[in-house]
Symmetry: C2
Subunit: 360 residues, 2 copies
């Protein structure tokens, strides 16, 4: 976890743009004040804003020397590569950061603290190696407990990986709080944990215990919230990650879902040369999620979060109108136009539930 306020340098070498450096972009958007520099030698000298559309004037520097000029005290690995292994050249940067006395925060499947050389170096230098993806010791098996919490549980689901499920949940948290609703965000992935300072990276949990870990977090968060916003992962339509996504759906037992999609993406991102699965229409994706939810506890998709980052203004508006007409659901890009339309349907749903509870 990030813990105390730090002076972060985000490592995003060669990939610091709006779509490829997912963790860096998340931290820049939601922990802006803690970031002092981004490391990407291919973009050094530019601002974060000009590279990734977030982070304002935060400088992009070439290396750890550049970050040291801004008194960075912590290196955060700003990407999450498929497979979760640290790219070899980055390992040298981690070692150098430790040599300089910096803490290192990572969200890899391959835990830095389990690397004997890095662990020895960290100890010698009195630095911390923080692996946020390390799973909890508890081995919980889900039993639908989350279906009976008092809070309204909302899960962000997606047409694919990396379409905006975490961002949508965080934007909804902010929008709901602005409307006076007690909202809680449940982080289920490494970037969400970087941002929220708590949570479980469910994709790193042994498969039998994923739904149980989610259930535990939802039940805990529901104690002190009116709306629990659970960060979704992957997609039930993704060949590699569908099981993780279904575990989240059945562990969280949401009452409502927000479907996230990136406008213009036509195929699911996979990591081999073969043909990637086509992304279905949003209507089909809505229907499949509502069916899969019904196997455990009924849930409705209340709205669509459409990530329009690659579109210009008029294209974005057209894409949103188009999906709103096709699905008859409220559609917005929460980053570009605010989460208000989605927050509004969630509040309406919350009020409906309360009326039903009061009259029964």
């Amino acid at each position: 976890m990030l813990g105390k306020t730090r002076r972060l340098a985000l490592l995003a070498e060669g990939c610091f743009n709006a779509t490829d450096a997912k963790s860096a972009v998340g931290v820049l958007r939601y922990r802006t004040s803690e970031v002092v520099a981004v490391i990407d030698s291919t973009r050094a000298g530019r601002t974060a804003q000009s590279c990734a559309g977030v982070g304002g004037d935060i400088p992009v520097v070439a290396n750890l020397d550049g970050a040291a000029a801004y008194d960075a005290d912590t290196l955060l690995i700003g990407i999450a590569p498929p497979g979760g292994a640290l790219p070899a050249p980055w390992r040298a940067v981690v070692a150098e950061a430790l040599m300089r006395g910096m803490d290192v925060i990572a969200g890899m499947h391959q835990f830095l603290a389990d690397d004997p050389e890095l662990a020895t170096l960290a100890e010698a230098k009195g630095c911390k190696l923080i692996d946020v993806r390390r799973p909890p010791a508890a081995r919980s098996i889900a039993t639908r407990r989350a279906a009976s919490v008092d809070a309204l549980v909302v899960l962000t689901v997606g047409s694919d990986c990396n379409v905006g499920k975490m961002t949508t949940a965080l934007e909804l948290e902010a929008a709901l709080k602005a409307m006076g609703v007690k909202a809680a965000f449940v982080a289920t992935g490494q970037t969400g944990i970087f941002v929220a300072d708590r949570g479980v990276a469910v994709d790193a949990v042994v498969s039998d215990f994923v739904a149980g870990a989610v259930e535990d977090m939802v039940v805990e968060a529901a104690r002190d919230a009116e709306v629990v916003l659970v960060e979704g992962q992957g997609s039930i339509h993704h060949p590699g990650y569908s099981g993780v996504s279904l575990s989240l759906l059945h562990g969280a037992c949401p009452d409502a879902m927000i479907l996230c999609h990136q406008a213009g993406r036509t195929h699911i991102k996979t990591f081999d040369a073969g043909p990637a699965p086509r992304i279905r229409s949003l209507i089909e994706i809505v229907r499949d999620h509502e069916r899969a939810a019904s196997w455990m506890s009924p849930a409705r998709v209340l709205g669509i979060s459409l990530n329009t980052v690659t579109l210009d203004e008029s294209e974005a508006k057209r894409a949103i109108d188009h999906e709103a007409q096709r699905t008859s659901l409220p559609v917005t890009d929460p980053v570009r136009y605010g989460a208000q339309p989605l927050a509004t349907v969630i509040v309406r749903r919350l009020e409906e539930r309360r009326r039903r509870a009061a009259s029964s």
Copy 2:
């Protein structure tokens, strides 16, 4: 793995019957000649057959002394408790077995070899501690490769845990081989691995890599088989395990499924005091599996394997007829009446595929 021929004592203290000692029953049914005794002090003096309906005259003994009388050289933990932790009294038995110079084979989530005391003891005595559930080092992410293998891939799916998915796959393997078909069994759970001497316990794999592990095994098995029979796990309708089941479905990309159910079971087995989910009609379960498969690669349920272990002869026949009429699918209890009806539809499907391939 079992490896070389051993003289096994199966530990099933207090639970050696047809339904509760799942691993012991599986090993007794499929590795009969290697078992010399079953340990259950509450049933000592009886035969395996009289307790669990398998194993013939293999004796049930009270403790390790009893097993020593039959020259047992290996202790196999014959249960798989939810959560996968070794019951405390059993740990003492494991330690005693090691003291006697026996190897110990287990399928727990909590690895025996990671227990410093047991590991030290094993080393001192020159014994092996074999944890078949330990996941492979490879971190594969599935990409639908299994959908394009030449072999016909058949997955056993279930209405719940512990209904006969492994047994059905193994009985089908034998029936197909008897019909001259090159069939291969892919083990995905601890008991399957005990039986097959290979495989991956997918419920112990980190969730991101479950579908990938299954895909790797199916692609490998398909190289030298006409029919690949994949052992299913859990159920897409189980609150705790649905994600594991969907990962199996999307990793294996089967062409056909056999639905397994225990006659008379009305509710899913969960592990808490709350209300357990009702088991749907088999028609609904068939439909939900075919839908979930279609998200990745289309598959049909070709038949039903109905476990009638708790029914008498006339009840069993009635249950089978009833489900056959309701589902219009072939139904059998492969243990009681043989797997022939299911093997026959699989062979028919294999021939259909070949005709289609030849004419295209």
